[in-house]
Symmetry: C2
Subunit: 452 residues, 2 copies
């Protein structure tokens, strides 16, 4: 359903719930997709949400629960009877359970853990122990494992027997007695093989896998690079401990892109949708960088003050300060955005620094040259500021763009090399450095050319 259909459904549902017409409300939703049901649950008031949840068929309710935000899940869990909680927990996949637990307050987590069996509790704790943003922390342990000596028919039997509870059955993992990953076989391979063929002979042994400590972004990138539906996660001894499924990889890709965009715009990343974040939280995410940037901008003020006498001598120079700073900032921003995205997508590496700098230098000369020519003509013939000032502005433009592109492209790569996040270091540092450089160039060229 699209956004409008969902809203229409929401209005009908609210009306039915207001009239306590539960039969019709139940009929309305019984064949609904879990993601749509989750949308409706989230939009309902805290009073109506549990009522509606109980109207859903059991399996649909549990599936919808997995799609909901932690805040809404918490409201439901707090109101659940022991029996209800048990039923939902039984249906949830391990990765969804862990996602939920990570966001809940301690007393709710306790309530949840009381209602899962010992084995699941052990596994939950194991996943919780992997570093945040690692492949281990987003993997699921519900995969189908096969043995190399099985026949295709035996493999299908095993999938039929255990498949209901698995998050994906389409890629099966062949492990030895010590759980070491030996190969993979897809259901497509199995379907296209003869019944009595042995797994050993049809499995793919050139298996791509990541370690539990691999960054989740890298895991998602590997999965997408090879067009996999799931990527196996192994421990330090090469034993299979879980799989990352494609739907979770997509979520990681979306989150990381959002984070990159937020950080490039000088904000602390937020993992909640905008309209669900409250004002204080948004303030907390935005104000630190604004403060840092404001303070760093005072360096620029310092530079202007230092050249006060030059400015006083030729007041027209002041009016070009914003344009020069903006252009430097824009060029540096273009270069850094390009490089940061390239780093995120794994297209650019440290060894590419010389190529990147050379290219940025060339692009900067072209861009700066174009801008300088345009503004030189405008200043000379439209604004009639005189040749010396027009030359000063044009020369500053070229130099500022070159500096901006070199700073903007090299800083993110260096940051990454030093193990820092390229995105965060970029924005404030580049702005300050480029602004300062543009002004210094400007004033010194002006002093030299105009003799002030």
């Amino acid at each position: 359903m699209n956004y409008d259909e969902n809203n229409e459904m929401l209005e009908r549902l609210e009306a039915l719930l207001d009239q306590r017409n539960y039969n019709q409300a139940g009929a309305l939703v019984k064949d609904m997709n879990p993601a749509d049901a989750a949308f409706l649950l989230e939009e309902l008031s805290e009073q109506k949400m549990p009522v509606f949840f109980r109207l859903l068929p059991k399996e649909l309710a549990a599936d919808a629960f997995a799609y909901m935000s932690p805040e809404a899940q918490e409201v439901l869990v707090r109101g659940f009877s022991d029996r209800e909680l048990e039923e939902v927990m039984e249906q949830l996949f391990l990765d969804d359970t862990v996602d939920m637990i990570e966001e809940m307050p301690a007393n709710v987590v306790k309530k949840i853990l009381r209602h899962v069996d010992a084995e699941t509790r052990k596994r939950i704790n194991q996943v919780l122990n992997y570093p945040k943003d690692s492949a281990g922390s987003i993997m699921t342990m519900e995969y189908v494992d096969l043995k190399r000596s099985m026949t295709v028919e035996q493999a299908f039997d095993r999938i039929r027997r255990t498949g209901v509870e698995k998050e994906t059955v389409y890629t099966c993992y062949v492990t030895d007695s010590r759980r070491k990953l030996e190969g993979i076989v897809t259901v497509k391979d199995l379907l296209l093989a003869e019944k009595d063929q042995v797994i050993r002979n049809i499995m793919e042994t050139n298996v791509k896998s990541v370690s539990t400590h691999t960054d989740q972004e890298e895991a998602a990138r590997e999965l997408s690079r090879y067009d996999f539906l799931a990527l196996p996660v192994v421990d330090a001894e090469g034993r299979l401990v879980g799989i990352v499924t494609v739907d979770d990889a997509i979520d990681v890709i979306q989150e990381e892109a959002t984070e990159d965009i937020e950080k490039m715009a000088a904000m602390a990343p937020s993992d909640r949708p905008y309209l669900k974040t409250n004002v204080w939280e948004t303030w907390r995410k935005r104000v630190p960088w604004l403060l840092i940037l404001m303070i760093s901008a005072t360096f620029t003020s310092g530079i202007i003050s230092a050249y006060e006498s030059a400015l006083a001598a030729s007041v027209v120079l002041t009016s070009f300060i914003p344009m020069l700073m903006d252009t430097g900032g824009n060029s540096g921003g273009q270069a850094s955005a390009t490089i940061i995205r390239g780093l995120s997508l794994g297209e650019i590496h440290y060894r590419d620094v010389p190529r990147v700098l050379l290219k940025e230098c060339a692009v900067a000369l072209l861009c700066g040259g174009t801008l300088a020519a345009a503004s030189f003509l405008k200043l000379l013939f439209l604004d009639r500021v005189g040749l010396p000032v027009a030359l000063v502005v044009a020369a500053t433009l070229v130099s500022a763009v070159v500096v901006a592109n070199l700073v903007g492209s090299s800083l993110p790569i260096l940051a990454k090399r030093l193990g820092l996040d390229p995105t965060v270091t970029a924005s404030p540092l580049i702005t300050t450095l480029v602004d300062a450089a543009a002004l210094m160039i400007y004033f010194n060229v002006a002093k030299l050319a105009l003799g002030i």
Copy 2:
């Protein structure tokens, strides 16, 4: 393989090819993953690429071909014999063929079309006719279709018979005699059902689909929202014409995020990796916005000139111009980046405008207040500029941040409402408007408070 392993492999391979040791080079690559083989092919020189391509086992060669960039594909196609071209074209899925054709010069396209059968040629033309960036343009027509009266066993027979050539077999589509989509059934459903059950009784009839003209970004979002492996694409009459598979949806998500980032940094989007784009192309993508932004920055210069007398009266005011403009720009940038991303992810809609404006206003008062307080104290006690100037700067900060956030958040939503791309309109307009507003506020507050 990760980046380092790939590079190591590349060096070994190049050495073997230099020594004309083709046997060993062939042995090195025969079990390789197609994506890895494509990486190696792309990195080889134009001379070695076709040599290496011919060393690959036929099926692997065709699969690797699908992963390559259009530039590299063109090099290979130009060198192919008729037979080779036919073999590769036979193996390719329709969506990969179309992707390739869209990027090739006319004479290469002609060569390719001569080597596909009439039916495929018809389908290629059909897909090429869908609008760029629509679901129709990225879909594949190679799906498994079933009939509602089939039994599970018959369905498996059909999958086995036709599945080899299908891009995915895991979701099958149930259509009537006029190709109208009636339901879907997954291989998991089929595996868990009894052999003699009839498709009609196990298929899911609440089917999510998109139209051929749906934007590809929206299609990818729907697929990810429902955690599907493929999303059916139907024509205006509800007839099934193709499916969008999850791997293509991931590519769309990545591309769209890159495009958003590029446009936010005021660049025309590029669909090639940074290191594969030449200097002229990069210049062409970057210089238009730089020029527009530079010209729009002259408005700001105009404002400064207009208040020249005020500035001459109190030279200290000049030194705060960069800081005030930067802060306004940063706040506006934060707001617009947040809103643009929210729009891209489908989290924010036009009807949310009042909520968004209210929230941005509140956040702006908090952020602006914090910044004003910090700079007021600094100006008064550290810089000792005197109470009037400190007050002027603080008041300007709060007002500029409020204006910046309102402009930054409302413009993208309005742009989208008007059918424009929110990302493009944002950057230049917001910068110019916010800069101009900040300066006007500054000078007017200064005139009022300092009586100049």
